[in-house]
Symmetry: C2
Subunit: 459 residues, 2 copies
């Protein structure tokens, strides 16, 4: 199924035996055919000393790319074990945004040790990148972009681009600035190379620039790159000076993180929890503590909600009446079904809200869905009860409660996100456990009312 | 907050007044400053006749880009109202993969009408694209790529690229084929333009090609583009012949769809439901029916599960014993808490599984998390019960049941996805309602055991 994975398995064995037999030339030759990411995968499966040996024989640019992919632990454990000049040369080739991301997770002292190995220019760029918050556009941008002055000719710009291509993360967009370093235009490489040599950049460039501010949420960059199908987006400060760019591969990484974030929130936990769990040893103490911390707030809120449903429940006095004591057995299924349809409705509403405004008629719509599914489910349960208990009063009470509970559950599930949005609270804080607990309370209250009304007539 | 949205609001008013006053030149000038996507947004907010008027004055390439973004309904309603020659010219400029996506949603007759307006070459390409399934890589690929022969020189390749740049979706990767049309290499535009004119392509290209087969799941393309940070990925048939490419903007679209798919499955519904709900009129009959259809299987499964928990519940004979009748009131909170922590655990396990293999020790880990949160919650509920009821027997029964239920809930929540994966069933079919229902059954059984054991000793 996963052919790349299989290839890596074979490669791993081959690499191991080449290292063990000290066949460096063959090793280099073999690795030349593989992508950096595959070599990185291999390294993660090697023991520490073999990992270092392999790392030492890699070409400098491959070694740099591997560090770009790595996390803080891999980065410092590997670098600390290789020769200082080699270290310097590799660092020089690393992309600055990736280096800044890794450095931001290291201790103060370690950061300084690394900074000392960098050129002054790179160190300054890194210092600036380290200032920005991880969740801001500044936190994911890179300074490896190509910038030309608006007064250059196409020929000059191409020459400039060629000589700076090596440090750039992308050369497919060329950013145009004026003499005050303000971003005034953008030009695709495609437009540049198809232009006449003598054309002036200002005449070629598009002034319709889609950009983000350096202090904005990184989700804004994701939204714009996705909406306008960009390969990179420029990042500017509030004076419109170009500070960096965000490339589409980083946008994809953010999208992957944010997608799981939504699901975690919905399940009533946080995505920090997964980051911990995916680490090497999942039974460590810190991991369990991090999980407990992420979940306990939701659990306590739902526990308090559960106690509230208990209080309502204790008002159901039919359980003291032996004729109808069996009604109590239906409580879990009646309230559970309200919770289930409410979970579905609220997930739908939360997701719709992330793309567009929800209107109140969505709540009505959910009520209709609850009505139809409610009819189906209450007929079903009615038939089952009648077959086994032959008591039409119980059929009436349970079916009617289930029916009303499903309509109300669906409407509340859709209404909560709508209400939160109106109150300017992020609707994604609504989680399945919260909806389930809320609908337990509502469900028991409905059951209490229906049984009281119907049984009063019957008894 | 959403500055682009604000800009569109202003623009909408301006565009409307220019159309009403028939100021075509000013309208064209105004729109030149805006991105196609913004113009498309505007068009979606205009009434039908204004929309057509605006569409007619757009430059051909902008009109084509707008149709690329549109859905089948927008596409056919707009095209059917404009002059046939104009229609032909716009279609010629449309990207073929987008056109194929739209055509696949039209009626047979309508497709033929459109095909008649295309050049023979384009029509053939479209026919081929229409064969592939929507969820396959073939269904999202485009034929707008640049292909050169391995024997060309760099200079020849650049010339070839320049003359074909207009039809290409991306010119940033150049694909190299041999005389049998087999994909043998890839070259970035960057490498091409920095090469000497006389170099032979075969010597410049990389043979380490990351590609997908035309009949593979599109998620494989997403995985590879994301893993290897690509801007496009080539699509080949089983004979390794190049059939098309998938560009990163289409990968992003797929990611957005798939991300919500996971959450929908978890809530026990489907993402088709949202596609319906996001359409203009959310209260239409078809939409409600589509929602009912997506949800009813899950609801019926959970209903049957609910009935099972009822059967177990009816074996709780303490409710016939007036001294301990109040124990029944705690059932919703005890089983609800098991369901809540189980929902959290299963979401975590499903998400972890989507990235890497889950080991059994994750289940143990969840048991530990259940143990700690269980201690906290059972102490809390014990204190509350003692304060209000002053009955140590009830405190014991409820706290102990809650405690065991939370440990078991956490472990089952983590174990189910693990088990499904081992059985080669997609773990993402596990939904919050299913977990909640399963844990209702388990929870009641635990409550039954604990009360029977403890009360037998006490009574």
């Amino acid at each position: 199924m996963d052919r790349k994975q299989d290839a890596s398995q074979d490669l791993l064995g081959e690499v191991k035996s080449l290292i063990e037999n000290n066949k460096i030339l063959e090793l280099r030759e073999l690795l030349e055919e593989y992508h950096t990411i595959d070599i990185f995968d291999i390294m993660e499966h090697l023991e520490e000393d073999m990992k270092i040996k392999l790392f030492e024989v890699l070409p400098l640019d491959v070694a740099a790319s591997i560090l770009e992919e790595s996390d803080a632990q891999f980065f410092s454990s590997t670098l600390s074990k290789i020769d200082i000049d080699h270290r310097k040369n590799i660092l020089e080739l690393m992309s600055l945004d990736d280096m800044a991301d890794i450095l931001s997770q290291l201790e103060e002292g370690e950061i300084e040790n690394i900074m000392e190995l960098l050129s002054k220019e790179d160190a300054d760029d890194i210092k600036e990148l380290l200032i920005y918050e991880e969740e801001s556009t500044g936190g994911i941008m890179t300074t490896g972009y190509i910038e030309v002055n608006k007064d250059m000719t196409a020929k000059e710009a191409i020459e400039h681009m060629r000589s700076h291509a090596e440090e750039a993360e992308t050369i497919y967009y060329i950013y145009v600035v004026d003499n005050a370093e303000k971003l005034v235009g953008v030009l695709s490489l495609r437009e540049l190379i198809t232009a006449r040599d003598s054309s002036i950049i200002e005449d070629l460039m598009s002034e319709n620039i889609i950009s983000v501010y350096v202090d904005e949420d990184r989700e804004e960059a994701v939204r714009l790159v996705s909406k306008y199908n960009l390969i990179a987006i420029p990042v500017i400060d509030r004076q419109k000076r170009l500070k960096g760019i965000i490339t589409v591969d980083d946008i994809i990484d953010v999208m992957e993180e944010e997608a799981s974030e939504d699901m975690y929130k919905f399940a009533g936990t946080s995505e920090q929890e997964r980051d911990f769990v995916e680490k090497v040893n999942p039974t460590s103490k810190e991991q369990i503590i991090s999980s407990v911390r992420a979940r306990i707030p939701w659990l306590i809120i739902t526990l308090l909600g559960g106690l509230l449903s208990m209080v309502i429940f204790s008002n159901l006095d039919f359980i003291m009446n032996p004729t109808y004591a069996s009604l109590v057995f239906f409580i879990p299924v009646v309230i559970g079904m309200g919770g289930n349809i409410g979970t579905q409705s609220s997930a739908l509403a939360v997701m719709v809200l992330s793309n567009k405004d929800l209107e109140f008629k969505n709540v009505i719509r959910e009520g209709m869905v609850g009505l139809i599914t409610g009819i189906i489910c209450s007929i079903l349960i009615g038939i089952v009860i009648f077959i086994f208990m032959r008591d039409i009063d119980i059929v009436l009470v349970v079916s009617l409660s289930l029916f009303i509970n499903m309509i109300v559950g669906a409407m509340i599930g859709a209404f909560m996100p709508f209400l939160f949005k109106k109150m300017d609270v992020d609707p994604s804080i609504i989680s399945a456990p919260i909806i389930a607990t809320l609908l337990d309370i509502v469900g028991i209250a409905i059951y209490l009312m229906i049984t009281t009304l119907l049984l009063a007539k019957i008894v």
